[in-house]
């Protein structure tokens, strides 16, 4: 990244330190691009606020067992169809018995804070555990996407020729499937049979199946821009210099080219996490993602929509959780791009 003659780089006179001689004449301290980006990001209040919101959501979801053990005293998959519980000094049915069969709504009590679902499971506990699963799938799948896309993009862009043909075709083939349909096809086939491929042996209900599926289907969306960038970067002088110094291909790819891709990867990575959380929700909603009774925000909505008339909270609450999380990530990703890409500043003025 070329140094940019904007305010961050201008010399800011530091307050003179009393008793220390010669501070005025101190040379201007250099500042790296990452530090500059961090300063820009820190000044973007909206982006920082959304980072805090996202961190808070993650913290709550990670602390799910704490809530389940200490406050609600039930696990996320414990049914309770006939029981009662106490709220505000009154005994209430968890699920009002037939003919109504209406699960209890949200209210001020440790158990069933957000009400119960149709099986009498604690919605708050499921929301937290569901969030854990959704975030796990979102994060790990984004990591998988990034690693595969970076390796393929680097190899294709650097070696060109036949390697590039293979990489390009791989991207083209994945790209040709409608992305949601590919996710559904993979998700359904693997949910029924599990994944049994050589040393890999995963059962049908595992969280790893949606994670892998979502991780793979978005590879071209990141791999294509990376490959393009590598193609132009490899013509730069610093690569020539590295070759002249006798560095091997791997060293150049990961030591010279990768650091130059870091800002792209970081920005896209954030947005891909957001996108993958939405995809997980969609797949789980249709039954091709996280499999019941394991909760995830998507399959909670899937269960809730049939009860919209009697228990709207079952649909509204997990949907809000998804929206808030994804919104926070998208806003933060936007801020990150503005901070890492100085061009964006010119744009906004």
């Amino acid at each position: 990244m070329a140094p940019e003659p904007s305010a961050e780089f201008a010399f800011e006179p530091s307050p003179a330190l009393p008793g220390v001689a010669g501070t005025e004449g101190r040379p201007i301290e250099g500042i790296g691009p990452w530090q500059a980006a961090w300063r820009r990001l820190r000044r973007n209040r909206i982006a920082m606020a959304s980072l805090v919101v996202f961190a808070a959501i993650v913290a709550c979801c990670v602390a799910a067992p704490l809530w389940a053990d200490q406050v609600a005293h039930v696990g996320p998959e414990e049914n309770n169809l006939t029981g009662k519980f106490e709220r505000g000094g009154k005994q209430l049915y968890v699920v009002t018995p037939p003919p109504q069969t209406k699960p209890v709504g949200p209210g001020w009590s440790g158990r069933y804070l957000l009400g119960a679902d149709k099986n009498g499971r604690d919605e708050m506990v499921r929301l937290l555990y569901g969030g854990r699963n959704s975030l796990f799938v979102g994060f790990v799948s984004a990591l998988i996407t990034t690693v595969i896309a970076v390796v393929l993009g680097l190899a294709g862009g650097y070696f060109r020729g036949r390697t590039d043909l293979v990489v390009r075709t791989t991207f083209d083939v994945i790209w040709s499937f409608p992305v949601l349909l590919l996710g559904i096809a993979l998700g359904t086939a693997l949910a029924i049979g599990g994944l049994h491929l050589g040393p890999i042996d995963i059962q049908g209900g595992s969280l790893w199946i949606p994670t892998l599926v979502i991780g793979v289907i978005y590879v071209p969306y990141l791999g294509r821009p990376i490959r393009g960038q590598v193609l132009s970067l490899r013509e730069k002088e610093f690569v020539e210099a590295a070759v002249a110094q006798g560095n091997g291909a791997l060293r150049i790819m990961f030591g010279e080219l990768l650091p130059n891709l870091a800002s792209t990867i970081l920005v896209f990575g954030t947005l891909i996490v957001a996108n993958n959380i939405l995809t997980e929700a969609a797949l789980s909603f249709l039954g091709a993602g996280v499999q019941l009774p394991t909760p995830s925000w998507g399959n909670m909505i899937g269960e809730g929509v049939n009860l919209l008339s009697t228990a709207p909270h079952l649909t509204i609450v997990p949907g809000l959780a998804i929206t808030l999380t994804v919104l926070a990530l998208n806003v933060f990703g936007d801020g990150l791009r503005d901070a890492l890409d100085p061009r964006a500043k010119v744009r906004l003025r």
Binding site: L180, L190, I192, L197, A282, T323
Partner: protein, 319 residues
């Protein structure tokens, strides 16, 4: 030109082949190659012995892998894929679903293009002022909403609670044009929200990039009105990436992107058929929809590329 077309078609044939292999791998190989399990996956859990024996023979599960692959290609090509849980022909069901899916996607595409361009231009014209801020916030929310959730809430609150719109379902255009329209309003908007957000954000930043170009300054220096500069000089160039994206999104929506909207509003389209099959873990329809949709997208993009090359000599000479 002919050379470009031929090369593009050869590439297309290769991608089609690769797609069929990938689909084969997804449904036959990845979930395990144990014959009994394979048969059960295709025939469904509640199938009887006779069906299973027939599936085993039809799909060639007692034969080597390449025969199984050939059978799959053959079945897709001649349209003899059948769902064993409800005895329907996959190709017929897909063809039956096309009008609903096409109505949904074409209508939504009109809406998302109109509002995407409108909001993008407004945002760029008022950059930094309140219309831009409001639209930026709205589009940010738009791209963060789960489509199916919005659809479910709209459907429940606007058709069940206050009967503003008719409940879900598809009404044929030829039978009842007004019913067709009213039944599709909510699905159209549900499907559009995400794209409106994407397009307006993209167009806004494209316009702001283009505005700094020299030819825009020249146009202003010539004394052209601001409006003319915006429409004839800025927008024309800023729209190019949007047009490319539109082709991709439209194909993807027809080929399966509308699954969620269709299944929420019970529009009897291709997507709902796929969604129902997923719900009942019925593999042949899922397999068929995936293959046909991917074929459709590959064909469409080849046609679009050749059309582009015809219109723009730079493309056919560079590629």
């Amino acid at each position: 030109m002919a050379r470009f077309a031929v090369r593009r078609l050869i590439n297309m044939a290769f991608v089609l082949f690769a797609i069929s292999v990938v689909t084969f791998l997804i449904f036959y190989v990845f979930p395990g190659t144990d014959t009994k399990a394979q048969v059960q996956r295709i025939a469904g859990r509640s199938s009887n012995d006779a069906t299973r024996a027939q599936v085993k023979k039809d799909y060639g599960f007692d034969r080597p892998v390449y025969v199984q692959y050939a059978r799959l290609v053959e079945k897709t090509a001649n349209g003899s894929l059948v769902s064993y849980s409800n005895q329907t022909n996959v190709r017929d069901e897909i063809v039956r679903g096309i009008p609903a899916t096409a109505s949904l996607v074409i209508g939504a595409a009109v809406i998302w293009t109109f509002f995407g361009v409108l909001f993008g231009v407004l945002s760029a014209v008022y950059v930094g002022r309140w219309p831009d801020r409001v639209l930026t916030v709205l589009s940010m929310i738009g791209i963060s909403l789960p489509v199916f959730w919005v659809g479910a809430l709209l459907l429940y609150y606007l058709t069940d609670r206050i009967q503003l719109f008719p409940p879900g379902g598809y009404v044929r255009l030829t039978e009842d044009p007004w019913g067709w329209f009213t039944h599709l309003i909510l699905p159209w908007f549900t499907l559009s929200i995400l794209f409106i957000g994407f397009y307006s954000r993209l167009l806004r930043s494209n316009i702001l990039d283009t505005i700094n170009e020299d030819y825009v300054r020249t146009a202003r220096a010539k004394g052209l009105s601001e409006r003319r500069v915006l429409v004839r000089h800025v927008l024309r160039n800023a729209l190019i990436p949007i047009v490319t994206l539109f082709g991709l999104d439209f194909g993807a929506a027809i080929g399966g992107g509308a699954i969620l909207t269709e299944s929420i509003f019970s529009l009897q389209g291709v997507g709902q058929y796929a969604a129902q099959s997923v719900g009942s873990l019925d593999l042949p329809p899922v397999m068929g929809t995936t293959l046909y949709a991917a074929f459709f997208i590959v064909l469409l993009s080849a046609v679009v590329d050749i059309a582009y090359a015809y219109l723009d000599p730079r493309i056919r000479l560079n590629a």
